[in-house]
Symmetry: C2
Subunit: 188 residues, 2 copies
């Protein structure tokens, strides 16, 4: 299965800072960086206004870079309740933006991403940034952390996609180009 | 402050069943039912497809009934983790639909709604349905529970809105017609 040329948009969701990235799969495990950035929304604005801004930004990125697939971090009930809920609202808005463009969505947990990138599900931020910088051949480490995390999600999907596609050929129904939200190689 | 004629859309968010309602404030505490329904999305479809369907339905209701304000249930970290997260994704999509139309959004916790409707923050479903049927002068109890909950949210906002508007006049910045998400009479 050759996924060369596949464009993956990686998203590290957040209401205050949302990391967005696009990478393109090259030969074998090679991955080319296309774009990376962080969208911020002011904390003194209402949730409605902030979700609207994030939605507009995500849609612009999808229009500008035409990703074949979106990889987004799965939200867990960790940390402060209100922050987790806000992040989950953001994920809803981002998944909708992809759904409206018929772009399939895959979700990965932070430890799945860390394992895919560094071989260690508990890698720290510094290790992850070092690996991402090396993998993408960047001249300097991506900043802030949300940008590096968004790139890591995209790279994670590039490396896991061949296995997901192979599983699809076994008849598990994991087509790469349907509008699905999946993770851990299982259909959800 | 006269809120007569104000149209409130009440939403009981959920991925499998999402209750939608519209009521109109009458004289004093009188409230007229306008519409109520439940949007269902099939559990065998992907999250992307389901969020898209809910978004389309909510937008249709907003276009059809032109609510002045949306009242939606605040999601808590209760129950099964995955269900809570899915509901939070749905809330994000619904709040976005309102934001795109510049409709202000207010959030209320289940106990705030119960207290407003029945005077008891721990009222059970049967009590709530009885009260809603009586308040709106319905010929029969609204079904299913999600429909009754959606109506209860809308009624709750109608009765709390005058206090919120009064607070706005004290200079707390709680304008009724800005795109805000609020609850418990405090700006968030």
């Amino acid at each position: 299965m050759n996924l060369e040329g596949m464009r993956v948009m990686g998203i590290d969701p957040g209401l205050t800072r949302c990391g967005l990235s696009v990478v393109q799969a090259g030969r074998g495990r090679a991955i080319l960086p296309v774009s990376v950035g962080v969208v911020r929304t002011p904390s003194d604005k209402d949730l409605t206004e902030r979700l609207l801004r994030l939605s507009v930004a995500a849609k612009e990125w999808m229009e500008d870079y035409s990703p074949d697939v979106v990889a987004i971090e799965r939200v867990f009930e960790r940390g402060q309740v209100s922050t987790v809920m806000q992040t989950a609202h953001v994920v809803g808005v981002l998944v909708l933006a992809a759904a409206e463009r018929d772009i399939p969505v895959y979700m990965y947990t932070p430890s799945e991403v860390k394992k895919a990138i560094s071989g260690n599900g508990r890698a720290d931020k510094k290790q992850m940034t070092t690996m991402i910088t090396r993998i993408l051949g960047l001249t300097e480490p991506p900043k802030p952390a949300d940008a590096a995390d968004a790139l890591a999600l995209a790279v994670c999907h590039c490396w896991r996609a061949p296995a997901i596609v192979r599983m699809d050929h076994t008849g598990l129904g994991l087509g790469a180009k349907t509008s699905g939200v999946r993770g851990q190689g299982k259909k959800r």
